[in-house]
Protein backbone atom coordinates (compact mmCIF):
# COMPACT_ATOMS: atom_id res chain seq x y z
CA UNK A 1 0.00 0.00 0.00
CA UNK A 2 2.51 2.56 1.13
CA UNK A 3 4.80 3.34 -1.79
CA UNK A 4 8.48 2.42 -1.75
CA UNK A 5 11.38 4.66 -2.68
CA UNK A 6 15.07 4.06 -3.16
CA UNK A 7 18.38 5.88 -3.21
CA UNK A 8 21.88 4.65 -4.21
CA UNK A 9 23.25 5.35 -0.72
CA UNK A 10 20.84 2.91 0.85
CA UNK A 11 22.17 -0.26 2.47
CA UNK A 12 19.29 -2.67 2.37
CA UNK A 13 19.27 -5.03 5.32
CA UNK A 14 15.87 -4.83 6.98
CA UNK A 15 14.33 -3.57 3.73
CA UNK A 16 16.10 -6.20 1.61
CA UNK A 17 12.90 -8.13 0.97
CA UNK A 18 10.62 -5.11 0.54
CA UNK A 19 8.70 -5.37 -2.71
CA UNK A 20 9.89 -8.98 -3.21
CA UNK A 21 6.66 -10.73 -2.31
CA UNK A 22 8.12 -12.05 0.95
CA UNK A 23 4.76 -12.09 2.71
CA UNK A 24 4.46 -15.42 0.89
CA UNK A 25 6.26 -17.98 3.05
CA UNK A 26 7.77 -19.83 0.07
CA UNK A 27 9.17 -16.62 -1.30
CA UNK A 28 10.50 -15.76 2.16
CA UNK A 29 12.25 -19.14 2.31
CA UNK A 30 13.79 -18.52 -1.13
CA UNK A 31 15.16 -15.24 0.19
CA UNK A 32 17.07 -16.94 3.04
CA UNK A 33 14.04 -16.94 5.31
CA UNK A 34 14.07 -19.01 8.51
CA UNK A 35 17.76 -19.84 7.96
CA UNK A 36 18.87 -17.60 10.81
CA UNK A 37 16.61 -19.26 13.35
CA UNK A 38 17.90 -22.69 12.31
CA UNK A 39 21.43 -21.40 12.77
CA UNK A 40 20.42 -20.07 16.17
CA UNK A 41 19.20 -23.53 17.19
CA UNK A 42 22.78 -24.76 16.94
CA UNK A 43 23.98 -21.94 19.20
CA UNK A 44 24.02 -21.68 22.98
CA UNK A 45 21.61 -18.99 24.27
CA UNK A 46 24.55 -16.96 25.59
CA UNK A 47 26.24 -17.15 22.21
CA UNK A 48 23.13 -15.68 20.55
CA UNK A 49 23.02 -12.89 23.11
CA UNK A 50 26.73 -12.17 22.64
CA UNK A 51 26.36 -12.09 18.89
CA UNK A 52 23.57 -9.50 19.18
CA UNK A 53 25.58 -7.54 21.77
CA UNK A 54 28.65 -7.50 19.53
CA UNK A 55 26.62 -6.37 16.53
CA UNK A 56 26.01 -3.04 18.24
CA UNK A 57 22.26 -3.33 17.59
CA UNK A 58 20.41 -0.74 19.65
CA UNK A 59 16.67 -0.42 20.18
CA UNK A 60 15.02 1.04 17.11
CA UNK A 61 11.91 2.15 19.00
CA UNK A 62 13.70 5.27 20.17
CA UNK A 63 15.59 4.67 23.39
CA UNK A 64 18.58 3.12 21.66
CA UNK A 65 19.37 0.64 24.41
CA UNK A 66 21.66 -2.28 23.52
CA UNK A 67 19.42 -5.15 22.44
CA UNK A 68 21.85 -7.88 23.49
CA UNK A 69 22.23 -6.23 26.88
CA UNK A 70 18.47 -6.11 27.32
CA UNK A 71 18.23 -9.82 26.59
CA UNK A 72 21.00 -10.60 29.06
CA UNK A 73 18.93 -9.10 31.90
CA UNK A 74 16.38 -11.90 31.67
CA UNK A 75 17.05 -14.42 34.45
CA UNK A 76 18.06 -17.88 33.31
CA UNK A 77 15.76 -19.58 35.79
CA UNK A 78 12.26 -18.37 36.34
CA UNK A 79 9.31 -19.90 38.15
CA UNK A 80 6.96 -17.94 35.90
CA UNK A 81 6.86 -18.28 32.10
CA UNK A 82 9.09 -15.91 30.14
CA UNK A 83 7.77 -13.88 27.23
CA UNK A 84 9.01 -12.07 24.15
CA UNK A 85 6.92 -9.07 23.17
CA UNK A 86 7.35 -7.33 19.84
CA UNK A 87 6.38 -3.68 19.99
CA UNK A 88 4.59 -2.80 16.78
CA UNK A 89 2.51 -0.03 18.29
CA UNK A 90 4.30 2.52 16.14
CA UNK A 91 2.70 5.91 16.89
CA UNK A 92 5.43 8.51 17.35
CA UNK A 93 4.52 11.33 14.94
CA UNK A 94 6.98 11.24 12.07
CA UNK A 95 7.45 7.49 12.22
CA UNK A 96 6.13 5.05 9.62
CA UNK A 97 8.77 2.34 9.29
CA UNK A 98 7.43 -0.64 11.22
CA UNK A 99 4.43 -0.38 8.97
CA UNK A 100 6.60 -1.21 5.96
CA UNK A 101 8.25 -4.12 7.74
CA UNK A 102 4.90 -5.68 8.64
CA UNK A 103 3.60 -5.02 5.15
CA UNK A 104 6.55 -6.44 3.22
CA UNK A 105 8.43 -8.79 5.52
CA UNK A 106 6.23 -10.09 8.36
CA UNK A 107 8.16 -13.36 8.61
CA UNK A 108 11.34 -11.45 9.47
CA UNK A 109 9.57 -10.12 12.57
CA UNK A 110 8.38 -13.63 13.45
CA UNK A 111 11.89 -15.01 12.95
CA UNK A 112 13.32 -12.23 15.12
CA UNK A 113 10.87 -13.07 17.90
CA UNK A 114 11.84 -16.75 17.58
CA UNK A 115 15.55 -16.00 17.92
CA UNK A 116 14.89 -13.74 20.91
CA UNK A 117 12.84 -16.55 22.47
CA UNK A 118 15.70 -19.02 21.97
CA UNK A 119 18.16 -16.56 23.48
CA UNK A 120 16.18 -15.93 26.66
CA UNK A 121 14.53 -19.34 27.00
CA UNK A 122 10.95 -18.32 26.33
CA UNK A 123 8.19 -20.41 24.82
CA UNK A 124 5.69 -17.66 24.07
CA UNK A 125 5.91 -14.53 21.98
CA UNK A 126 3.43 -11.77 21.17
CA UNK A 127 3.50 -9.36 18.27
CA UNK A 128 1.56 -6.24 19.19
CA UNK A 129 0.31 -4.24 16.20
CA UNK A 130 -1.39 -0.88 16.56
CA UNK A 131 -5.14 -0.93 15.97
CA UNK A 132 -5.10 1.48 13.03
CA UNK A 133 -2.88 -0.99 11.12
CA UNK A 134 -5.71 -3.47 10.57
CA UNK A 135 -4.44 -4.55 7.16
CA UNK A 136 -1.09 -5.37 8.73
CA UNK A 137 -2.61 -7.51 11.43
CA UNK A 138 -4.33 -9.48 8.65
CA UNK A 139 -0.96 -9.94 6.91
CA UNK A 140 0.61 -10.98 10.21
CA UNK A 141 -2.14 -13.47 11.06
CA UNK A 142 -1.64 -15.14 7.68
CA UNK A 143 2.14 -15.22 8.15
CA UNK A 144 1.77 -16.81 11.58
CA UNK A 145 -0.71 -19.38 10.29
CA UNK A 146 1.70 -20.27 7.46
CA UNK A 147 4.59 -20.63 9.90
CA UNK A 148 2.48 -22.95 12.09
CA UNK A 149 1.44 -24.99 9.04
CA UNK A 150 5.11 -25.57 8.17
CA UNK A 151 5.97 -26.66 11.70
CA UNK A 152 8.12 -23.59 12.30
CA UNK A 153 5.92 -22.69 15.24
CA UNK A 154 3.97 -24.80 17.72
CA UNK A 155 5.17 -28.11 19.14
CA UNK A 156 8.62 -29.51 18.41
CA UNK A 157 9.58 -26.72 16.01
CA UNK A 158 12.01 -27.71 13.24
CA UNK A 159 12.10 -31.11 14.93
CA UNK A 160 14.16 -29.60 17.75
CA UNK A 161 12.05 -30.90 20.59
CA UNK A 162 11.30 -27.29 21.57
CA UNK A 163 7.85 -25.72 21.66
CA UNK A 164 7.30 -22.11 20.71
CA UNK A 165 4.06 -20.21 20.22
CA UNK A 166 3.79 -16.74 18.75
CA UNK A 167 0.53 -14.78 18.64
CA UNK A 168 -0.44 -11.40 17.29
CA UNK A 169 -2.26 -8.84 19.40
CA UNK A 170 -4.09 -5.70 18.32
CA UNK A 171 -4.29 -2.30 19.97
CA UNK A 172 -7.10 0.23 19.69
CA UNK A 173 -5.47 3.63 19.44
CA UNK A 174 -3.12 4.89 22.14
CA UNK A 175 0.32 6.45 21.66
CA UNK A 176 1.30 5.79 25.24
CA UNK A 177 1.00 2.06 24.75
CA UNK A 178 4.23 2.25 22.74
CA UNK A 179 5.99 2.65 26.09
CA UNK A 180 6.97 -0.83 27.20
CA UNK A 181 5.26 -1.06 30.56
CA UNK A 182 2.07 0.47 29.16
CA UNK A 183 2.33 -2.00 26.27
CA UNK A 184 2.21 -4.87 28.75
CA UNK A 185 -0.77 -3.38 30.56
CA UNK A 186 -2.56 -3.06 27.24
CA UNK A 187 -1.79 -6.65 26.29
CA UNK A 188 -3.17 -7.72 29.64
CA UNK A 189 -6.46 -6.07 28.67
CA UNK A 190 -6.20 -2.91 30.73
CA UNK A 191 -5.80 0.81 30.29
CA UNK A 192 -2.25 1.50 29.17
CA UNK A 193 -1.13 3.07 32.44
CA UNK A 194 2.65 2.80 32.80
CA UNK A 195 4.15 0.73 35.59
CA UNK A 196 6.80 1.97 37.95
CA UNK A 197 10.31 0.59 37.50
CA UNK A 198 12.15 -1.21 38.97
CA UNK A 199 11.27 -4.00 38.65
CA UNK A 200 12.09 -3.85 34.96
CA UNK A 201 10.11 -5.95 32.45
CA UNK A 202 13.11 -8.25 31.95
CA UNK A 203 12.53 -9.43 35.52
CA UNK A 204 8.82 -8.79 36.14
CA UNK A 205 6.87 -8.28 32.94
CA UNK A 206 3.80 -9.80 31.34
CA UNK A 207 1.67 -11.54 33.96
CA UNK A 208 4.63 -11.20 36.30
CA UNK A 209 6.98 -13.25 34.12
CA UNK A 210 10.33 -12.04 32.74
CA UNK A 211 9.67 -10.28 29.44
CA UNK A 212 11.85 -9.06 26.61
CA UNK A 213 10.27 -6.14 24.75
CA UNK A 214 11.77 -5.01 21.46
CA UNK A 215 10.64 -2.78 18.63
CA UNK A 216 9.58 -4.50 15.38
CA UNK A 217 12.54 -3.07 13.42
CA UNK A 218 14.94 -4.26 16.12
CA UNK A 219 13.58 -7.79 15.95
CA UNK A 220 13.49 -7.78 12.14
CA UNK A 221 17.21 -6.89 12.21
CA UNK A 222 18.12 -9.87 14.39
CA UNK A 223 17.89 -12.65 11.74
CA UNK A 224 20.22 -10.66 9.47
CA UNK A 225 22.73 -10.35 12.31
CA UNK A 226 22.64 -14.05 13.08
CA UNK A 227 23.08 -14.95 9.40
CA UNK A 228 25.56 -12.26 8.41
CA UNK A 229 27.47 -12.17 11.68
CA UNK A 230 27.92 -9.49 14.31
CA UNK A 231 31.13 -8.23 12.79
CA UNK A 232 29.59 -7.51 9.40
CA UNK A 233 26.58 -5.78 10.97
CA UNK A 234 28.64 -3.66 13.34
CA UNK A 235 30.84 -2.51 10.44
CA UNK A 236 27.88 -1.18 8.49
CA UNK A 237 27.30 1.46 11.16
CA UNK A 238 29.52 3.53 13.40
CA UNK A 239 31.19 2.43 16.66
CA UNK A 240 28.58 1.38 19.25
CA UNK A 241 25.85 2.01 16.66
CA UNK A 242 25.70 -1.12 14.55
CA UNK A 243 23.91 -1.63 11.29
CA UNK A 244 21.37 0.36 9.41
CA UNK A 245 18.23 2.19 10.23
CA UNK A 246 14.97 2.89 8.46
CA UNK A 247 14.77 6.67 8.34
CA UNK A 248 11.31 8.08 7.68
CA UNK A 249 11.78 11.33 5.82
CA UNK A 250 8.72 13.57 5.93
CA UNK A 251 7.63 17.18 5.79
CA UNK A 252 8.86 19.77 3.29
CA UNK A 253 11.01 17.54 1.11
CA UNK A 254 11.09 16.81 -2.62
CA UNK A 255 11.30 13.06 -2.07
CA UNK A 256 9.89 12.03 1.27
CA UNK A 257 9.90 8.31 1.99
CA UNK A 258 11.37 5.57 4.14
CA UNK A 259 15.04 4.98 3.32
CA UNK A 260 17.37 2.43 4.88
CA UNK A 261 20.69 4.13 5.53
CA UNK A 262 23.74 3.11 7.55
CA UNK A 263 23.85 4.38 11.10
CA UNK A 264 25.88 7.54 11.15
CA UNK A 265 24.71 8.85 7.78
CA UNK A 266 25.10 12.61 7.57
CA UNK A 267 21.87 14.49 8.27
CA UNK A 268 22.55 17.24 5.74
CA UNK A 269 23.07 14.63 3.01
CA UNK A 270 19.95 12.84 4.17
CA UNK A 271 17.88 15.98 3.68
CA UNK A 272 19.47 17.41 0.53
CA UNK A 273 20.53 14.29 -1.36
CA UNK A 274 18.40 11.37 -0.22
CA UNK A 275 15.31 13.46 0.46
CA UNK A 276 15.91 15.63 -2.61
CA UNK A 277 16.10 18.91 -0.68
CA UNK A 278 13.48 21.54 0.05
CA UNK A 279 10.88 22.12 -2.67
CA UNK A 280 9.78 25.40 -4.27
CA UNK A 281 13.16 27.06 -3.77
CA UNK A 282 12.44 27.50 -0.07
CA UNK A 283 15.04 27.41 2.69
CA UNK A 284 15.42 24.89 5.48
CA UNK A 285 14.14 26.25 8.76
CA UNK A 286 14.35 23.36 11.20
CA UNK A 287 14.55 19.57 11.47
CA UNK A 288 12.98 17.29 14.02
CA UNK A 289 15.51 14.45 13.81
CA UNK A 290 13.86 11.47 15.50
CA UNK A 291 10.11 11.78 15.87
CA UNK A 292 8.01 14.52 17.48
CA UNK A 293 9.50 14.06 20.95
CA UNK A 294 13.05 14.93 19.93
CA UNK A 295 14.42 18.49 20.26
CA UNK A 296 14.51 20.46 17.03
CA UNK A 297 17.76 21.17 15.17
CA UNK A 298 18.62 24.39 13.32
CA UNK A 299 20.02 24.46 9.76
CA UNK A 300 23.49 25.13 11.13
CA UNK A 301 23.24 22.03 13.36
CA UNK A 302 22.62 19.42 10.68
CA UNK A 303 26.18 18.46 9.84
CA UNK A 304 25.94 15.54 12.18
CA UNK A 305 26.24 11.80 12.01
CA UNK A 306 22.83 10.19 12.49
CA UNK A 307 23.67 7.72 15.22
CA UNK A 308 22.42 7.64 18.80
CA UNK A 309 25.55 9.14 20.38
CA UNK A 310 26.22 11.92 17.85
CA UNK A 311 22.64 13.19 17.87
CA UNK A 312 22.64 13.11 21.67
CA UNK A 313 25.85 15.14 21.62
CA UNK A 314 24.10 17.69 19.40
CA UNK A 315 21.46 18.08 22.11
CA UNK A 316 18.73 16.00 20.54
CA UNK A 317 17.90 12.33 20.06
CA UNK A 318 17.98 9.86 17.19
CA UNK A 319 14.67 8.58 18.57
CA UNK A 320 12.46 6.52 16.32
CA UNK A 321 14.00 7.54 12.99
CA UNK A 322 11.31 10.02 12.00
CA UNK A 323 13.05 12.96 10.32
CA UNK A 324 10.55 15.80 9.94
CA UNK A 325 11.77 18.71 7.81
CA UNK A 326 10.32 22.23 8.03
CA UNK A 327 10.85 24.93 5.44
CA UNK A 328 10.89 28.66 6.16
CA UNK A 329 7.17 29.18 5.49
CA UNK A 330 6.29 27.40 8.72
CA UNK A 331 5.54 28.99 12.04
CA UNK A 332 7.42 27.37 14.91
CA UNK A 333 4.85 28.49 17.47
CA UNK A 334 2.17 26.72 15.49
CA UNK A 335 4.37 23.65 15.10
CA UNK A 336 5.06 23.62 18.85
CA UNK A 337 1.34 23.99 19.49
CA UNK A 338 0.43 21.08 17.21
CA UNK A 339 3.06 18.93 18.88
CA UNK A 340 1.70 19.81 22.31
CA UNK A 341 -1.89 19.23 21.24
CA UNK A 342 -0.85 15.68 20.41
CA UNK A 343 0.78 15.06 23.77
CA UNK A 344 -2.16 16.56 25.65
CA UNK A 345 -4.46 14.23 23.73
CA UNK A 346 -2.29 11.21 24.45
CA UNK A 347 -1.47 11.88 28.10
CA UNK A 348 -3.27 9.25 30.16
CA UNK A 349 -3.54 11.53 33.16
CA UNK A 350 -1.87 9.14 35.55
CA UNK A 351 1.01 11.48 36.46
CA UNK A 352 0.01 15.02 37.37
CA UNK A 353 3.03 16.85 35.86
CA UNK A 354 2.20 15.36 32.46
CA UNK A 355 -1.59 15.67 32.70
CA UNK A 356 -1.57 19.27 33.90
CA UNK A 357 1.60 20.28 32.09
CA UNK A 358 0.47 19.27 28.61
CA UNK A 359 -2.93 20.89 29.17
CA UNK A 360 -1.48 24.20 30.39
CA UNK A 361 1.11 24.23 27.65
CA UNK A 362 -1.46 23.59 24.94
CA UNK A 363 -3.64 26.39 26.31
CA UNK A 364 -0.72 28.80 26.58
CA UNK A 365 0.55 27.99 23.10
CA UNK A 366 -2.94 28.30 21.63
CA UNK A 367 -3.36 31.74 23.17
CA UNK A 368 0.14 32.65 22.06
CA UNK A 369 -0.38 31.63 18.47
CA UNK A 370 -3.66 33.54 18.35
CA UNK A 371 -1.82 36.74 19.31
CA UNK A 372 -2.89 36.79 22.96
CA UNK A 373 0.52 35.91 24.37
CA UNK A 374 2.22 37.76 27.20
CA UNK A 375 5.96 38.21 27.38
CA UNK A 376 6.18 36.26 30.62
CA UNK A 377 4.46 33.31 28.92
CA UNK A 378 7.64 32.58 27.01
CA UNK A 379 9.53 31.88 30.20
CA UNK A 380 6.50 30.16 31.66
CA UNK A 381 6.39 27.71 28.76
CA UNK A 382 9.99 26.82 29.41
CA UNK A 383 9.55 26.68 33.18
CA UNK A 384 6.53 24.42 32.94
CA UNK A 385 8.27 22.10 30.49
CA UNK A 386 11.39 21.86 32.59
CA UNK A 387 9.30 20.89 35.57
CA UNK A 388 7.74 17.99 33.70
CA UNK A 389 11.11 16.42 32.91
CA UNK A 390 11.81 13.24 34.82
CA UNK A 391 8.71 13.58 36.99
CA UNK A 392 6.49 11.01 35.35
CA UNK A 393 6.20 7.21 35.35
CA UNK A 394 6.66 6.94 31.58
CA UNK A 395 8.55 9.20 29.19
CA UNK A 396 5.41 10.82 27.71
CA UNK A 397 5.92 13.82 29.96
CA UNK A 398 9.53 14.12 28.81
CA UNK A 399 8.45 13.61 25.21
CA UNK A 400 6.15 16.62 25.47
CA UNK A 401 8.61 18.78 27.38
CA UNK A 402 11.86 18.19 25.49
CA UNK A 403 10.83 19.51 22.07
CA UNK A 404 9.00 22.45 23.66
CA UNK A 405 12.08 23.57 25.57
CA UNK A 406 14.09 23.44 22.34
CA UNK A 407 11.47 25.41 20.39
CA UNK A 408 11.55 28.21 22.94
CA UNK A 409 15.33 28.23 23.29
CA UNK A 410 16.08 28.17 19.59
CA UNK A 411 13.20 30.27 18.28
CA UNK A 412 12.63 32.78 21.07
CA UNK A 413 12.44 35.63 18.60
CA UNK A 414 9.62 33.94 16.76
CA UNK A 415 7.67 33.64 19.99
CA UNK A 416 8.28 37.35 20.62
CA UNK A 417 7.01 38.16 17.12
CA UNK A 418 3.61 36.83 18.20
CA UNK A 419 3.29 39.21 21.15
CA UNK A 420 0.98 42.20 21.63
CA UNK A 421 -1.86 40.97 19.53
CA UNK A 422 0.20 40.72 16.34
CA UNK A 423 -1.16 38.17 13.93
CA UNK A 424 1.02 35.15 13.23
CA UNK A 425 3.57 36.34 10.66
CA UNK A 426 3.34 33.05 8.81
CA UNK A 427 -0.41 32.80 8.31
CA UNK A 428 -0.69 33.44 4.62
CA UNK A 429 -3.62 32.17 2.67
CA UNK A 430 -2.64 29.31 0.44
CA UNK A 431 0.85 28.90 1.89
CA UNK A 432 0.43 25.20 2.38
CA UNK A 433 -1.26 24.53 -0.94
CA UNK A 434 1.91 25.56 -2.73
CA UNK A 435 3.65 22.42 -1.53
CA UNK A 436 4.03 19.72 -4.11
CA UNK A 437 2.26 16.50 -3.31
CA UNK A 438 3.65 13.33 -4.81
CA UNK A 439 1.45 11.45 -7.23
Amino acid sequence: MASLVSHPDEVKVVSRRFGQGATNIDRYLELDGYKAVQKAFAMEPDAIINEVKNSGLRGRGGAGFSTGMKWSFVPKQSAKPKYVLCNGDESEPGTCKDRLIFEHDPHAVIEGVMIAALAVGSQTGYIYIRGEYRYLSIIMQKALADAYARGFLGKNIFGSGRDLDIYWHGGAGAYEVGEESALMESLEGKRGIPRIRPPFPAVVGLWGGPTVINNAETLASVPHIILGGAEWYAKVGTPKNGGTRLFCLSGNLEKPGVYELPMGYNLRKMIYEVGGGIPNGRELKAVVPGGSSTPVLLPEEIDISMDFDSVAKAGSMLGSGGVVVLDDTNCIVKFALRTMKFYRHESCGWCIPCREGTDWLEKTLTRFHAGGGLKKDIDNIQYLSENMLGRTFCPLGDAAAMPTIAFVKKFRKEFEDHLEGRPCPFERAGAVEQLPVLA
Binding site: P93, R99, G189, K190, S250, G251, V324, R338, V437
Partner: protein
Protein backbone atom coordinates in the same frame (compact mmCIF):
# COMPACT_ATOMS: atom_id res chain seq x y z
CA UNK B 1 -26.77 -10.18 22.08
CA UNK B 2 -25.61 -12.10 19.05
CA UNK B 3 -22.37 -11.69 17.15
CA UNK B 4 -21.51 -13.16 13.75
CA UNK B 5 -19.99 -16.62 13.44
CA UNK B 6 -16.79 -14.98 12.27
CA UNK B 7 -16.59 -12.98 15.49
CA UNK B 8 -17.28 -16.08 17.58
CA UNK B 9 -14.56 -18.10 15.83
CA UNK B 10 -12.09 -15.29 16.28
CA UNK B 11 -13.07 -14.77 19.92
CA UNK B 12 -12.65 -18.45 20.76
CA UNK B 13 -9.30 -18.55 18.99
CA UNK B 14 -7.98 -15.39 20.64
CA UNK B 15 -9.03 -16.62 24.07
CA UNK B 16 -6.56 -19.49 23.72
CA UNK B 17 -3.63 -17.14 23.19
CA UNK B 18 -3.35 -15.80 26.72
CA UNK B 19 -3.06 -17.12 30.25
CA UNK B 20 -5.81 -14.73 31.40
CA UNK B 21 -9.25 -14.14 29.93
CA UNK B 22 -8.96 -10.41 30.23
CA UNK B 23 -6.22 -10.10 27.60
CA UNK B 24 -8.75 -10.63 24.83
CA UNK B 25 -10.59 -7.48 25.89
CA UNK B 26 -9.09 -4.75 23.68
CA UNK B 27 -9.02 -6.62 20.35
CA UNK B 28 -12.43 -8.19 21.11
CA UNK B 29 -13.97 -4.76 21.73
CA UNK B 30 -12.57 -3.46 18.45
CA UNK B 31 -13.88 -6.41 16.46
CA UNK B 32 -17.27 -6.14 18.17
CA UNK B 33 -17.37 -2.45 17.36
CA UNK B 34 -16.52 -3.12 13.71
CA UNK B 35 -19.49 -5.45 13.57
CA UNK B 36 -22.12 -3.51 15.55
CA UNK B 37 -20.89 -0.02 14.65
CA UNK B 38 -20.24 1.08 18.23
CA UNK B 39 -19.93 -0.34 21.72
CA UNK B 40 -23.55 -0.39 22.82
CA UNK B 41 -24.65 -1.20 26.37
CA UNK B 42 -25.52 -4.71 25.19
CA UNK B 43 -22.07 -5.27 23.69
CA UNK B 44 -20.39 -4.03 26.85
CA UNK B 45 -22.57 -6.27 29.05
CA UNK B 46 -21.91 -9.29 26.88
CA UNK B 47 -18.13 -8.82 26.69
CA UNK B 48 -17.98 -8.15 30.44
CA UNK B 49 -19.94 -11.33 31.12
CA UNK B 50 -17.73 -13.45 28.91
CA UNK B 51 -14.49 -12.16 30.38
CA UNK B 52 -15.79 -12.18 33.98
CA UNK B 53 -15.27 -8.45 34.33
CA UNK B 54 -17.57 -5.75 35.63
CA UNK B 55 -19.13 -3.37 33.14
CA UNK B 56 -17.15 -0.64 34.83
CA UNK B 57 -13.89 -2.49 34.09
CA UNK B 58 -14.84 -2.63 30.43
CA UNK B 59 -15.94 1.00 30.25
CA UNK B 60 -12.72 2.04 31.95
CA UNK B 61 -10.74 0.37 29.18
CA UNK B 62 -12.97 1.75 26.42
CA UNK B 63 -12.43 5.32 27.56
CA UNK B 64 -8.66 4.92 27.30
CA UNK B 65 -8.44 3.87 23.65
CA UNK B 66 -9.16 6.49 21.00
CA UNK B 67 -10.52 4.03 18.44
CA UNK B 68 -13.19 2.65 20.76
CA UNK B 69 -16.50 4.48 20.94
CA UNK B 70 -19.77 4.09 22.82
CA UNK B 71 -21.55 6.40 20.37
CA UNK B 72 -22.87 5.31 16.98
CA UNK B 73 -20.84 6.45 14.00
CA UNK B 74 -21.58 6.82 10.32
CA UNK B 75 -20.98 3.98 7.91
CA UNK B 76 -17.67 5.53 6.93
CA UNK B 77 -15.43 7.06 9.56
CA UNK B 78 -13.28 9.67 7.81
CA UNK B 79 -10.18 10.19 9.92
CA UNK B 80 -8.05 13.11 8.82
CA UNK B 81 -4.54 13.32 10.26
CA UNK B 82 -3.43 16.86 11.09
CA UNK B 83 -0.38 15.88 13.13
CA UNK B 84 2.99 17.47 12.30
CA UNK B 85 4.04 15.55 9.19
CA UNK B 86 0.58 15.84 7.64
CA UNK B 87 0.18 19.46 8.80
CA UNK B 88 3.35 20.43 6.92
CA UNK B 89 1.86 19.08 3.70
CA UNK B 90 -1.72 20.28 3.94
CA UNK B 91 -3.48 18.04 6.47
CA UNK B 92 -5.35 20.98 8.00
CA UNK B 93 -6.62 22.06 4.59
CA UNK B 94 -7.90 18.53 4.02
CA UNK B 95 -9.71 18.60 7.34
CA UNK B 96 -11.22 22.02 6.58
CA UNK B 97 -12.33 20.74 3.19
CA UNK B 98 -13.99 17.68 4.73
CA UNK B 99 -15.85 19.88 7.21
CA UNK B 100 -17.17 22.06 4.42
CA UNK B 101 -17.98 19.25 2.03
CA UNK B 102 -19.68 17.02 4.60
CA UNK B 103 -21.15 19.91 6.59
CA UNK B 104 -20.06 18.40 9.90
CA UNK B 105 -17.33 18.95 12.47
CA UNK B 106 -14.99 16.79 14.53
CA UNK B 107 -16.69 13.60 15.72
CA UNK B 108 -19.98 14.52 14.07
CA UNK B 109 -22.04 12.39 11.72
CA UNK B 110 -23.91 13.37 8.56
CA UNK B 111 -27.74 13.31 8.67
CA UNK B 112 -27.90 10.30 6.35
CA UNK B 113 -25.57 8.37 8.65
CA UNK B 114 -23.04 7.84 5.88
CA UNK B 115 -20.02 9.77 7.17
CA UNK B 116 -18.48 10.56 10.51
CA UNK B 117 -15.59 13.02 10.50
CA UNK B 118 -12.71 12.85 12.91
CA UNK B 119 -9.47 14.83 13.26
CA UNK B 120 -6.99 12.19 14.34
CA UNK B 121 -3.43 11.98 15.59
CA UNK B 122 -0.57 10.43 13.63
CA UNK B 123 -1.69 7.36 11.67
CA UNK B 124 1.78 6.32 10.55
CA UNK B 125 1.66 7.70 7.04
CA UNK B 126 4.19 10.52 7.57
CA UNK B 127 6.29 9.82 4.49
CA UNK B 128 3.14 9.74 2.36
CA UNK B 129 1.50 12.81 3.88
CA UNK B 130 -1.05 14.21 3.91
CA UNK B 131 -3.09 11.12 4.60
CA UNK B 132 -6.48 10.04 5.84
CA UNK B 133 -8.02 6.77 6.88
CA UNK B 134 -11.58 5.87 5.99
CA UNK B 135 -12.47 3.09 8.38
CA UNK B 136 -9.29 1.01 8.02
CA UNK B 137 -8.32 2.10 4.49
CA UNK B 138 -5.39 4.44 4.04
CA UNK B 139 -5.49 7.19 1.40
CA UNK B 140 -2.17 8.93 1.01
CA UNK B 141 -0.35 11.74 -0.83
CA UNK B 142 -3.67 13.58 -1.02
CA UNK B 143 -4.68 16.92 -2.45
CA UNK B 144 -8.10 18.51 -2.06
CA UNK B 145 -8.99 17.24 -5.56
CA UNK B 146 -7.87 13.70 -4.77
CA UNK B 147 -9.74 13.83 -1.47
CA UNK B 148 -12.95 14.71 -3.33
CA UNK B 149 -12.55 11.61 -5.46
CA UNK B 150 -11.85 9.46 -2.42
CA UNK B 151 -14.98 10.70 -0.63
CA UNK B 152 -17.09 10.37 -3.78
CA UNK B 153 -16.00 6.74 -3.91
CA UNK B 154 -17.69 6.19 -0.56
CA UNK B 155 -20.94 7.90 -1.59
CA UNK B 156 -22.26 4.75 -3.22
Amino acid sequence: MKFSDEFETRFTMMARHYPTKRSVLVPALLYAQDEIGYLSDEVIQEIARRLELTELDVRNVISYYSMLTTKPRGKYNVQVCTNIACMLRGGEELFAHCRKKLGIGHKQTTQDGRFTLEEVECIGACSWAPAIQVNYDFHENLTVEKLDKVLDGYQK
